[in-house]
């Protein structure tokens, strides 16, 4: 009998891990910086997912606090990149 724990351990988390790695390939390949930036953004978003699942898995609701922080401020990085990719073009 597959319990929810093992399902999370052996299905969900690996899927997420594989996703992150695939996104990372995009980050690796680029080709442009904006591609890398959205890859980074997606990695973080997926990271929120991983944290969520992990907090369920380890029964630690406390870890969701980290996810809140990620959700709230991760996009600041993207905004910053966007802001200055554009500005850089200007100079």
């Amino acid at each position: 009998m597959i319990t929810l724990e093992t399902y999370f351990d052996y299905v969900i988390l690996p899927i997420l891990a594989i996703s992150v790695m695939m996104v990372f390939i995009r980050l690796f390949k680029g080709p442009s910086v904006v591609d890398r930036v959205i890859a980074l953004d997606l990695i973080i978003t997926t990271g929120i997912g991983i944290i969520t699942v992990y907090s369920i898995r380890s029964n630690q609701a406390v870890l969701l606090d980290v996810a809140i922080i990620l959700a709230l401020i991760a996009f600041l990085g993207t905004v910053a990149f966007a802001y200055y990719i554009e500005k850089q073009k200007d100079d």
Binding site: V62, D65, V66, I68, I69, L72, I73, L76, V79, A80, Y83, E86, K87
Partner: protein, 136 residues
């Protein structure tokens, strides 16, 4: 470069983030969080605002230079550190009010200390980022 979408969104996000930063500050003693993260989040809120509306506008909201937050924060935390000396205790000793206060819980010198840290962190991050941003 300005984005109307970002500007509008910042209007909701700034208070939410500030609120969240208070939240992190106050509950730090019981859950993950504390003055540092709280301060960082608060600072990020203003940084976001400055991205959307320009640093000059953010400075207007703040009214005072972020640099001036640093001595205030330092003074608060230092005072909370040395306060125990008045009671003949070593510096940094936690002093607590007898009764818990609603919402915040127990109020003690640790909270004031964390508040000082919080203010310093905001002051520091904003000083650094705004100084750079204004120079551009």
């Amino acid at each position: 470069m300005k984005s109307a979408i970002l500007q509008t969104a910042t209007r909701y996000l700034l208070p939410i983030l500030l609120l969240f930063s208070f939240f992190l500050l106050l509950r730090g003693h019981y859950y993950p969080g504390g003055g540092f993260v709280g301060g960082l989040v608060a600072a990020i809120a203003f940084v976001l605002h400055s991205f959307a509306n320009g640093t000059a506008n953010t400075m207007k909201i703040l009214r005072y230079k972020p640099l001036s937050l640093i001595p205030i924060g330092l003074a608060i935390s230092t005072l909370s550190v040395v306060a125990p000396l008045l009671f003949g205790l070593p510096p940094m000793t936690g002093l607590w009010f007898e009764e818990p206060i609603p919402v915040i819980g127990m109020i003690g010198s640790a909270l004031f200390f964390d508040l000082g840290v919080y203010l310093v962190v905001i002051g520091v991050v904003l000083t650094i980022l705004f100084t750079i941003a204004l120079e551009q």
